[in-house]
Symmetry: C2
Subunit: 288 residues, 2 copies
């Protein structure tokens, strides 16, 4: 079995390593725009061979692990080129745009839209590891549009990797992921920005920053090349969620201004219920 | 040497354990309003004896590790009661209020205002560990107002614990800490609130939450009993910083609304410089 991976960053590289570890006998082919990443991926044995355009038709599976705008640019031509029994997958953080984009392609049923909920703030092949997806959620969208035999193969592949599989409508995915991922990134980026602007005058303040600060701004290290296309494709959902967040911050501000500490206390106490929710989230990647 | 600790939570408990580990021969006395915490602290050998009001005068050192409003309530009476060679310290996250509060006390020079930049989101004696402060910053305020022999003892104590000592004006401390700690907590609390409000209708979304979300809302688990008094005492600085944060989020919103992705890209790219800053912060407590 030949598996091709386009984009050998953290996600693509980890899928390649996981494919090797959990799918005995797979040959891994890889491709990356960045020649340094190609070299690293070969040296680290993340892939066995370079994936060339000429090889596309011989792959059994091709996984696109590139920014969501690059996926849109590439996906139709990839569908044109894959053979009639091959499966094409994406792993992007937005699902509506790509599902709409390929809707009318004759090979639509050879495509599966996925979103593995896994990652660290590090990037590039050297950040990849085979266990990134273990016990993490894998969201599959519009599964009824994928050929049953190909869907079944993919589901088995993800189960072999020990992923928890959920199915979801593409639009519901984009709406919900804005809350639990995209907003976290914006909040973190803007927190970093606020403090960096201050830091121009006051370098001393970073002596005072501890692990709490580090935790909340960790995502501000994320790559704009990956995130700007996500913000663009999920613009409407993000704007809605962002307005709710800003409105909550403004409410906090008003309560603080008017010394309404009882109300503030109630808000924070109620928000503490996040503990129960977080207990269900595998936090292992935080330590990676 | 007898060391008394008032408040046996994460910080007080960890100071007691660190005092035992790094100051051979110290007897630890402890006190906590919560009888369960008292029992735990004795069972876990965090303290050797209960600290009673009658013992205050026999302590060589008393450390207050209680919410910042409780510190204000207690500090004058404690200064009245300690003996003429004893040192009293606080470890609160605000420094101006307590320094002003004790300014005219005849034993002002037996007090040292400290803020150890250390913590996890866990609380209570069972969360305490002796190494919490290793390689973490310890901010000392208004050191010139503390009797030199007592200051010297305290500095040596913190150095024994392997802390990095910084001196700072109390007002500068409160202004800066609003950026690198208090704002992170508000951002995290309001992020948690925004998502919990949504969750009422859509419990499914938490299946989609990964380690990035967990990292940004980690601080929303923090205790309101501890944080409301901090927000109260540092109100003016927090309001200023919060306005800057909201303004940055609103600017992000406007750029997204108007599809100005070039400008958004520049902002995120510039914010990526937080990497360098974070590299300097010891992140070990995140994994605790």
């Amino acid at each position: 079995m030949k598996i091709g991976v386009i984009g050998l960053g953290l996600i693509g590289g980890s899928f390649a390593l996981a494919a090797k570890k959990f799918n005995i006998g797979a040959s891994l082919y890889g491709q990356d725009n960045n020649p340094k990443h190609m070299e690293e991926a070969l040296n680290l044995r993340i892939i066995d061979h370079p994936l060339e355009v000429d090889n596309y038709a011989s792959m059994d599976v091709i996984l696109m692990a590139i920014p969501v705008d690059a996926c849109l640019t590439l996906v139709l031509s990839l569908l044109d080129q894959i053979n009639d029994n091959a499966l094409l997958l994406d792993v992007g953080s937005t699902k509506s745009a790509i599902c709409k984009h390929i809707e009318l392609h004759p090979k639509r049923n050879q495509f599966l839209a996925t979103h593995p909920i896994a990652g660290t703030e590090f990037s590039g092949p050297s950040a990849a590891f085979a266990e990134l997806f273990v016990e993490q959620a894998q969201i599959l969208c519009e599964t009824s549009k994928t050929r049953p035999d190909l869907l079944e193969w993919a589901v088995q592949w993800f189960r072999n990797m020990n992923m928890e599989i959920h199915e979801m409508d593409a639009e519901a995915h984009d709406k919900h992921i804005a809350y639990v991922s995209h907003l976290s990134h914006i909040s973190s980026f803007m927190l970093g920005k606020t403090v960096i602007e201050k830091e121009k005058d006051e370098r001393a303040i970073f002596k005072m920053a501890g692990s709490g600060f580090a935790s909340t701004v960790r995502l501000a290290k994320s790559s704009p090349d990956m995130w700007i296309p996500i913000f663009k494709q999920n613009k409407e959902n993000i704007l809605e969620v962002l307005k709710e967040y800003i409105s909550n911050l403004e409410h906090f501000e008003r309560l603080l201004e008017s010394d309404d500490f009882d109300q503030l206390f109630k808000q924070l106490k109620n928000t503490n219920t996040i503990k129960t929710i977080l207990a269900g989230i595998n936090e292992k990647n935080i330590t990676k």
